[in-house]
Symmetry: C2
Subunit: 348 residues, 2 copies
């Protein structure tokens, strides 16, 4: 029997990590690096650990460089789009005409994407638009969410992800086709809910980080505050899911509460927040992250989320005090601790 072919677009942390379960599940895996990934592809080709995950690429993974896009996609039954969010539309545009054999596009890239008129779209719509510019209709786009750290996926530590598509049967079939002992996906019909939870958890993780930073500064934990932030974040994720027509269970499930939990345990958004909690200004903290070449995805996501709410559910604002507080803190408002506390402690 010939193994089905999956092409992973993007050789960064998540793209390279997914080669592990995909190979384990019996796929022929082709990993294609973008024009920014040459050094990553080279390291993998040399048998070194992947520079972003610290884990060697799964044995048998075939590597392709940027100019080899057509051959990488030739005959692929499944395509995984795993590039940085800024590149998702361009890579889709370039790949679109080579997707003829693909049954589905798995989208691990996450973000909110404004169109040219400033309307904030969820990413499946944005990549469909990018293909549409070529006159091409994408195969069904399946959102991949949930608490998945790339290095843990690559190293076969247990990971529960979410595959979500309007066609829930397709999502379930694909989830089954990639399932291994260590990596399994829950199939959902609520793609929009998953797509809104993914960028928003980065915003709320900044607030979780602030609570951690307060503890580091004072030498004693602020766990009650962190937990209050967490609960308020889940409540707001529920409302944001509903505002795009999604399901509240997505928000308190793997894609919402689960992904928020993992993002609050580690990661750049939390680290950025911790700097603020330790007393740095939001601007100085962001500069420090930039110097360390650490992108803080929650910062642009907070702005875009503000537009999303303005455009789709402005009535929701009174129930989103934490989103308001985080954007205020990012804008440099004084006394972030009081701002955060007032946002998450119940009003009386």
């Amino acid at each position: 029997m010939i193994a089905p072919i999956v092409t992973v677009l993007g050789a960064g942390a998540m793209g390279s990590a997914l080669a592990t379960p995909l190979r384990d599940a019996g796929w022929e895996v082709r990993l294609w690096g973008t024009w920014l990934d040459d050094h990553l592809v080279a390291a993998c080709r040399d048998g070194q650990p992947h520079p972003r995950t610290g884990v060697p690429l799964a044995a048998g993974t075939e590597l392709f460089t940027a100019i080899e896009l057509p051959s990488a996609l030739d005959g692929a039954e499944l395509v995984v789009l795993a590039v940085a969010s800024a590149g998702a539309e361009e890579v889709t545009w370039r790949a679109a005409r080579h997707l003829g054999t693909a049954r589905a596009v798995l989208l691990t890239t996450k973000g909110l994407a404004p169109d040219t008129e400033g309307r904030v779209r969820l990413l499946p719509e944005a990549v469909a638009d990018a293909a549409g510019e070529r006159g091409i209709t994408l195969p069904p786009v399946v959102a991949v969410g949930g608490p998945c750290k790339a290095n843990e996926v690559a190293a076969r530590r247990p990971t529960a992800s979410v595959f979500a598509a309007p066609d829930a049967e397709l999502a379930a079939e694909l989830a089954k086709s990639v399932a291994t002992e260590h990596y399994r996906a829950e199939a959902l019909a609520d793609r929009d809910g998953v797509e809104v939870c993914a960028p928003m958890k980065n915003v709320y993780a900044i607030a979780l980080g602030i609570a951690d930073g307060l503890g580091e500064r004072g030498g004693h934990p602020w766990h009650d505050l962190k937990a209050a932030v967490f609960a308020q974040a889940v409540k707001e994720l529920v409302l944001l899911c509903r505002s795009v027509g999604g399901d509240q269970a997505t928000a308190y499930g793997l894609a919402g509460a689960g992904d928020l939990e993992v993002t609050g345990l580690s990661g750049r958004n939390k680290i950025y927040g911790a700097r603020i909690g330790r007393g740095q200004s939001a601007v100085a903290a962001l500069d420090a992250m930039r110097v360390a070449e650490q992108t803080v995805e929650g910062v642009p996501a907070a702005r875009l989320a503000t537009h999303l709410v303005d455009q789709r559910a402005p009535d929701t604002w009174p129930a989103l005090p934490l989103l308001r507080a985080v954007t205020g803190i990012l804008d440099g408002e004084a006394d972030p601790v009081t701002r955060l506390t007032n946002a998450v402690l119940p009003s009386t």
Copy 2:
């Protein structure tokens, strides 16, 4: 104006801690120690930090020893029951005839309580039954839940709690009467949901601790597993809330997800789970906790929860794999890691 009187029954960590917001909110606070609390009352009387929280008792708090129960309760408008769960029914029975002036009993004690026929009751029902044995009807019982570490409450770090009573207006009025800059309560009508979340979060925190212990043993985090456990725990809390007629929003709010978050950050249930994750057997780990005089509330709660589900919602069992896994692990089943992983990774 004469300050209204609140009597706190139980001079342990939570009882003594609540003196801080209650004093700050303008109450005359009387802290009564049970027959097991003499050393705690003595330490507070000497001006030492409270032995359980490390924080001195709020200035102006009046102390009462076990035999002074009638005078401690004389004229109290509000009573807080904050004893260990094993003592809740007896203290209620003793206090019942002195509660004539009380408008409400705030119940911070948490647990599931079997009656003499083995039927598992929520605690408000159990304490009402205890008063009923005296022929006395308790004033309305208000459940206090949410992510509240006693030492943080005592030290005025921000804390969001939940006050829940069938009479939501009473809950709201009481929440307002104790609100301070640092301590505020959300008022809910869903007392049963709060009462079921509180003991169950201890059960699920054992599972969170196992994921932490695996990380400690292997030297690299198992955050994806911890997050998958977290999301599954919230899903199961939703079902358990519904099984007692409660509201799913309670489960993903402060009393459920919020309290689970704080319990997974620290505390004895998580520490116990971490021992198992590091490779100790469940029995040996519990012995080690006993030697250190650390009660692990999640262990008896897991057994009682099993009975609760059997009695009230046996159809729910297929959707409670994590509760099943934790009870299996506590029963000494081999290979807790595989047991836990299979319970929280989606089935395909």
